[in-house]
């Protein structure tokens, strides 16, 4: 009798139990995944995007970092301390990133989602937990102000600097700012927070230099832009066009421009439309396309040669060999360099084991001047970066590069942004943030 009861009680319980089981799987899985690093190791969880629409470039960035970490480890670690990284896939989906964040909470040393929406969603949490969230050339533009945003940083070139530097580049091509007067600049951008950030910069510079600019917002995924380009080329008759697309909408203008007869040499892309993945779908039509970038391209950097030699040739690469040296990959490597520098400073400053605050403090001590970059074998790969407690990076120069159908070639020197407008915008936005959050 007892036996029977017990069996009946159990067997139907299995029916709705799939969910319960999956929950249990989650519980039991947790300790396994967040395996504790050995003594004297830095355990470094990473948010990665290897699925979905943004995986193409984002995967290169993640793998580039990992290759650099592998190189550091192969060279004996940071003064003997090795890095043990662990991925959490979020597929560029904000809720999944939040879950990942919580899953590894307390173990984060520095968070780099490579997604601006995620930085926004995490910013409160990061501040509470005292973990630095970085998003190179993205994230929260005003977090250049390290005083208002102690645990956020754009690291390099916030969105406003990108826009300002791009205008300066166009001015240089025209032969100076004075020549901008009366010129028409078309701004093609995604109709979201990312795409609209340059507005104040354009407004300010248009007023000062007397050029005319007009916005063509495109709703995500912006795979169809023909009406905008007919308008730009046939009615507005722009002298220059700037694109602020993202991911797979980057290559669409190249086909459209050709169709409406807009010259590609008068077209400049944001640095987020400056990787191989952004141009290859357009094939030959992308030849001659110019985009901004915040780092050097190609394999000609000692650090990358060293990675090939010590990581890939040993069969320990974290990415297909043919993607080494791509824009996304180099971004990963230089991000790795910055993170490792922060780790190194933190260890030197506060000792092991590391936590979020120590790494943030280490980040603020980063001084990647010419000498240091040379030591790291990264001269020309990234601009000089010097951070402080009040300056979290973001006002740096851009490089400009041209696609020749096969590879990118850098065609300019470092082009600095107009610092005054950028700083004014940071000040305004930081004040607005303080007002909203009643600080």
């Amino acid at each position: 009798m007892f036996m029977k009861r017990a069996s009946i009680r159990l067997s139907p319980a299995l029916v709705p139990g799939v969910l319960a089981a999956s929950m249990l799987a989650t519980v039991s899985a947790l300790p396994a995944q967040t395996s504790i690093a050995a003594e004297g190791e830095i355990y470094h969880p990473m948010l990665v995007t290897r699925t979905g629409p943004f995986a193409s470039a984002a995967s290169g960035v993640s793998s580039g970092q990992q290759d650099y970490f592998a190189l550091v480890n192969a060279n004996g670690g940071i003064d003997g301390v090795k890095i043990k990284w662990e991925e959490c896939e979020f597929g560029y989906k904000t809720p999944r990133a939040l879950e990942c964040y919580e899953r590894f909470r307390g173990k984060w040393k520095i968070v780099y989602p490579n997604s601006t929406p995620v930085i926004f969603a995490l910013s409160k949490r990061l501040t509470e937990d005292k973990v630095l969230g970085i998003n190179l050339a993205g994230g929260r533009s005003e977090s250049t102000d390290g005083k208002t945003f102690p645990y956020l940083s754009p690291v390099i070139l916030n969105f406003w600097s990108q826009a300002a530097s791009t205008i300066r580049y166009i001015a240089q091509q025209e032969g100076g700012e004075a020549k901008l007067k009366g010129k028409k600049i078309a701004f093609v951008h995604l109709d979201n927070s990312y795409g609209r950030q340059p507005f104040p910069i354009f407004d300010a510079r248009a007023k000062k230099y007397g050029f005319e600019w007009k916005s063509w917002p495109l709703a995500w995924p912006a795979l169809e832009q023909s009406a905008a380009w007919v308008d730009i080329a046939r009615r507005f008759r722009a002298d220059w066009a700037i694109q602020w697309n993202y991911g797979q909408s980057c290559n669409v203008p190249m086909t459209e421009m050709k169709k409406v007869g807009f010259p590609i040499e008068k077209f400049v892309g944001t640095l987020w439309c400056g990787s191989e993945e952004d141009v290859t779908p357009a094939g030959d039509l992308a030849k001659g396309y110019i985009s901004a970038n915040y780092h050097g391209v190609g394999l000609d950097f000692p650090v990358i040669q060293e990675i090939i030699e010590k990581v890939h040739d040993k069969g320990k690469g974290n990415i297909e060999r043919n993607r080494v040296g791509t824009v996304a990959y180099n971004r990963g490597v230089l991000t790795g360099i910055i993170i490792v520098e922060a780790f190194r400073n933190a260890i030197k400053n506060a000792g092991m084991p590391l936590d979020g605050k120590k790494v943030r403090d280490g980040f603020r001590m980063i001084k990647l001047d010419g000498k240091r970059l040379k030591e790291l074998g990264a001269e020309g790969l990234l601009p000089e970066l010097v951070f402080s407690a009040t300056y979290h990076g973001g006002i740096e120069p851009q490089l400009f590069q041209r696609w020749d159908g096969k590879k990118w070639t850098t065609i300019s020197d470092w082009v600095p942004p107009y610092e005054d407008v950028v700083r004014a915008e940071i000040k305004r936005a930081a004040a607005e943030y303080k007002k909203q959050t009643k600080q």
Binding site: I8, P12, A13, V15, P16, V18, L19, S22, M23, A25, T26, A29, L30, A32, Q33, S35, V48, R50, T51, A55, S59, E87, E89, G91, K93, T94, P95, R96, L98, E99, Y101, E102, R103, R105, P117, F120, A121, S123, K124, R125, E128, D191, N192, S193, R196, Q197, F199, P200, A219, W220, E432, Y433, Q436, T437, K438
Partner: protein, 360 residues
């Protein structure tokens, strides 16, 4: 038994009919759930609270709202995420800009969404099924577009508004546990409200419309009133869920989190969970929101056990999608009526098995 009969004057057991949970298995399960949800979380880490439970509660509220519309009134909507966005922004503006107390703010968020919902629901008077689906889809796009464009909303070029610290009276909701209980309290209230409502005259009117709208009409049920009411209630729930995203989870209203994909997910939750079932809204939210996480962790572990070099991380991550897709399809084939129906079958069987014991 004897006592309860004495208190019930009616020979028909009217009170009996109106009991919330006629089955003992249901009562037992509810009791366990209440204990679980009330007393266990303090012992769980922040991961469970912030990573799993709070988002799940919020999504469940939203799914519950959609279930009122789709499961009870038989109307489809792909605009639930947009209602959440309306609630999120209405909430953050009411609380952040005007300093309205949080309980009132939640109400305002819900009501604003409800008004928008009434407008979005008007096509339902003429069309249904797939046509209605696309009409609400239009609303999804138009609402999100409008939030970005109306200067008064003040979403700015970032289309994000941060919230100040969240206070109810003098109680600051800042730890994960507090946020969890806050969300739980709202979810519990809304669940009881929906539970009552769907069993009331209004709920019956909705189900009448769903099952046979012509017959409902000649019983005197106004299509205009009840269809719009269903849209409003559904949007109200969505709006409150959106506000909770701001106040109990993320801390900011960001329009990019309320895109079509979320609407589709919420519709999936109500269907996989079970149309016309309150429990189903919760189960569905758990399925759609948590299963991918469980799969991800599970496969990661498997990968860890099997060992590194066999498959790349990218293959693994994509395989999660495939597994998730397969599970959706399998569940639907196995139980097209939804997860809640599995439970209902179990609890019925349990009741039969328990039968004699209860009667003695």
């Amino acid at each position: 038994m004897a006592l309860s009969d004495a208190r019930t004057p009616s020979p028909h057991g009217l009170e009996r009919d109106m009991r919330y949970l006629p089955r003992s298995a249901d009562r037992l399960a509810l009791f366990l759930l209440v204990v679980l949800f009330l007393f266990v979380p303090p012992f769980l880490g922040d991961y469970w609270l912030k990573g799993i439970l709070v988002p799940m509660l919020i999504l469940s509220i939203s799914a519950l709202g959609l279930n009122v519309l789709t499961g009870y009134a038989g109307l489809i909507s792909l605009g639930q995420a947009a209602f959440m966005a309306v609630g999120a922004f209405a909430g953050v503006i009411a609380y952040g800009r005007y300093g309205i107390p949080i309980p009132l703010t939640l109400l305002i968020a819900g009501l604003t969404a409800a008004i928008v919902g009434a407008v979005v629901g008007t096509p339902s008077l003429r069309i249904k099924g797939l046509y209605l689906l696309v009409a609400t889809l239009a609303a999804q796009f138009i609402i999100v577009w409008t939030i970005q464009r109306v200067p008064w909303i003040g979403a700015g070029s970032m289309v994000t508004i941060d919230t100040p610290p969240v206070f109810i009276g003098t109680w600051e909701i800042d730890t994960a546990l507090e946020q969890y209980y806050f969300a739980l309290a709202v979810a519990a209230l809304l669940t009881i409200f929906a539970w009552n409502l769907t069993r009331s005259r209004i709920g019956r009117a909705w189900m009448a419309i769903r099952d046979h709208d012509v017959a409902a009409k000649v019983m005197g049920i106004s299509m205009l009133r009840y269809k719009l009411l269903a849209f409003m209630v559904s949007a109200f729930y969505g709006g409150i869920a959106g506000a909770l995203v701001v106040f109990a989870w993320v801390g900011a209203a960001n329009v990019q989190e309320y895109e079509l994909e979320l609407s589709i997910q919420i519709l999936g939750m109500t269907i996989i969970g079970g149309l016309g079932s309150i429990l189903g809204s919760y189960l569905g939210a758990a399925f759609i929101a948590l299963l991918p996480i469980a799969i991800s962790i599970g496969m990661h572990n498997l990968y860890g056990i099997v060992g590194g070099e066999i498959v790349s991380a990218a293959v693994l991550a994509n395989a999660e999608h495939v597994v998730f897709g397969v599970l959706i399809v399998l569940f639907l084939i196995f139980e097209p009526l939804g997860l809640a129906h599995i439970w209902r079958r179990f609890s019925a069987r349990f009741e039969i098995w328990l039968g004699p014991a209860v009667r003695t």
